[in-house]
């Protein structure tokens, strides 16, 4: 490999006209290039390419124009592309990053900017340092805050610790068990719906998740939904449609409290998200009823459950063995019902659950590949800095030179140093 091919055409001339030029800078360059050329061919390393490809005048234009084209394409791609936008999304993160880099740290000379990102921290610009520092502080502070909040909630809880169950959707790439979601819907419909609403769920959302379209239509049609006003201005009731939300057992909170001895049965749509230990807690709650221990007295309408903070809960035990009969013939024990209804509630709270895990798998795979690329790039860029014999030089030398000649001087200076050393 010959170094000349990496040198902009204007300098080919210099190299070709070997007799010393009158301009001292060109001489320097000439000597430097032939020195490096020898060095490179002698040792068979291609460390030196980077210096030229990233610092000559005409090449730095490439990354920027390339990035512009990419952004343009990125903007039109979602509308024309047959893909699901995942790669364009990833793409945009990378682009955003390079954009930030260019906007915040751009100098006259883009080449220097790009090099800067791979420099030792002591040579970063103020902006660069500020950006990275505030990013680090925000990220670190945010996570500590969340961690601290999480801890304090645990510390102030007087309820029994819940056991961790082996949910078959708890792995990184495990989907919900949809047969269980379907049974859970049967449990909710026949048991919990008497007191609890799931007011943010529409019948149509269950199609293709735990019901077929015909089944969902039939389920909806069984309910009478308020509609209107009709032409006389009166409200009326009609059979439900797929687009209707699930009806609520009580018209408002007061009615719900009145019917339940003052306790309010919370909406269950997002309940697995709304309780610490979500599914495990609800499982413990539903299956953990017991007689109050000696010395504990309960008010009327209260029941004892060690997993409920305080112990006295307004909800009576809802699940017993054989409380319903499953359509698919699964024996309806108490724990089976609890497991199924919780799987259903988990789906209500996170309808994107399965897709999310599929995408996690894709993301890990693609990021894994990108990781290799980044690792290689890292080695590639740092190879320049790691051969410091060639690159290091005192800053005082740059004082009177323009940015663009900076790297040539660096090279020259080291060349002289090396000559002196030997």
């Amino acid at each position: 490999m010959h170094l000349y091919q990496y040198v902009p055409t204007s300098y080919h001339r210099i190299i070709a006209n070997s007799p010393p030029s009158k301009k001292p800078f060109e001489n320097v360059l000439l000597r430097q290039i032939s020195f490096l050329d020898n060095l490179m061919n002698y040792r068979g390393r291609n460390v030196v390419n980077d210096v030229f490809t990233t610092t000559t005048n005409d090449l730095p234009q490439c990354p920027k124009s390339l990035i512009n084209v990419m952004i343009l394409l990125h903007n039109i791609m979602p509308s024309v592309s047959p893909l699901d936008g995942f790669s364009t999304g990833l793409f945009s993160v990378v682009l955003l990053f390079s954009q930030i880099q260019l906007i915040l740290f751009a100098d006259d000379d883009n080449a220097v900017t790009i090099m800067k990102f791979f420099q030792a921290a002591s040579r970063w610009s103020k902006n660069h340092k500020f950006f990275l520092t505030s990013f680090g502080v925000l990220a670190g502070g945010g996570s500590s805050l969340i961690y601290a909040l999480e801890q304090s909630i645990h510390a102030s809880n007087d309820a029994a610790h819940v056991a961790k169950q082996k949910w078959n959707h708890s792995g990184w790439f495990d989907t919900l068990d949809h047969a269980s979601v379907r049974r859970g819907w049967e449990v909710y419909k026949n048991v919990c719906a008497a007191c609890h609403s799931i007011e943010y769920l529409a019948y149509r959302e269950m199609v293709g998740v735990c019901l077929t379209e015909d089944e969902a239509k039939a389920e909806a049609a069984e309910q009478l939904i308020d509609d209107g006003p009709d032409e006389t201005g009166a409200m009326f009731k009609r059979p439900g449609k797929l687009s209707d939300l699930l009806p609520k057992p009580y018209p408002n909170e007061e009615a719900a409290r009145y019917a339940n001895g003052g306790a309010y049965p919370p909406d269950l749509t997002y309940i697995t998200q709304a309780r610490i230990d979500g599914e495990n807690y609800i499982f413990a709650l539903l299956t953990g009823y017991m007689d109050p221990p000696a010395g504990v007295s309960l008010a009327e309408n209260q029941h004892y459950n060690p997993y409920f903070p305080g112990g006295a809960i307004g909800m009576a035990q809802a699940l017993y063995d054989e409380i319903i009969e499953y359509g698919d013939g699964t024996p309806a024990t108490q724990s089976q019902c609890a497991k199924d209804v919780i799987t259903f509630l988990k789906w209500c709270a996170e309808p994107e659950h399965d897709t999310r895990k599929l995408f996690a798998m894709k993301a890990f795979t693609i990021l894994g590949v990108l990781n290799l690329v980044v690792w290689y790039l890292h080695r590639h860029y740092w190879s320049v800095l790691k051969s410091r014999k060639i690159l290091q030089s005192p800053k005082s030398l740059f004082k009177n030179e323009s940015n663009k000649s900076l790297h040539y001087l660096v090279l020259y200076n080291n060349y002289e140093n090396q000559l002196r050393e030997h």
Binding site: L66, V69, L73, S87, F173, H178, G208, D354, M361, T365
Partner: protein
């Protein structure tokens, strides 16, 4: 070495070509990754997803 060099000369050297390779390559890359991973995912979760049990109910 020569493979690398040919690759460099034909693909990486000119941003225009490089970009075309990236754009076209990403189409194939994404389809491969998508289909491949969805297969693995479905195999890992065999019997659990709705599409595995739907035929019981129609």
């Amino acid at each position: 070495m020569s493979v690398v060099k040919v690759f460099y000369q034909t693909v990486l050297r000119r941003p225009s070509r490089f970009f075309v390779v990236v754009a076209v390559g990403s189409l194939f890359f994404e389809r491969t990754i998508d289909i491949g991973i969805e297969n693995v995912f479905d195999r890992m979760n065999r019997g659990k997803q709705w599409k595995d049990i739907a035929d019981k109910y129609v």
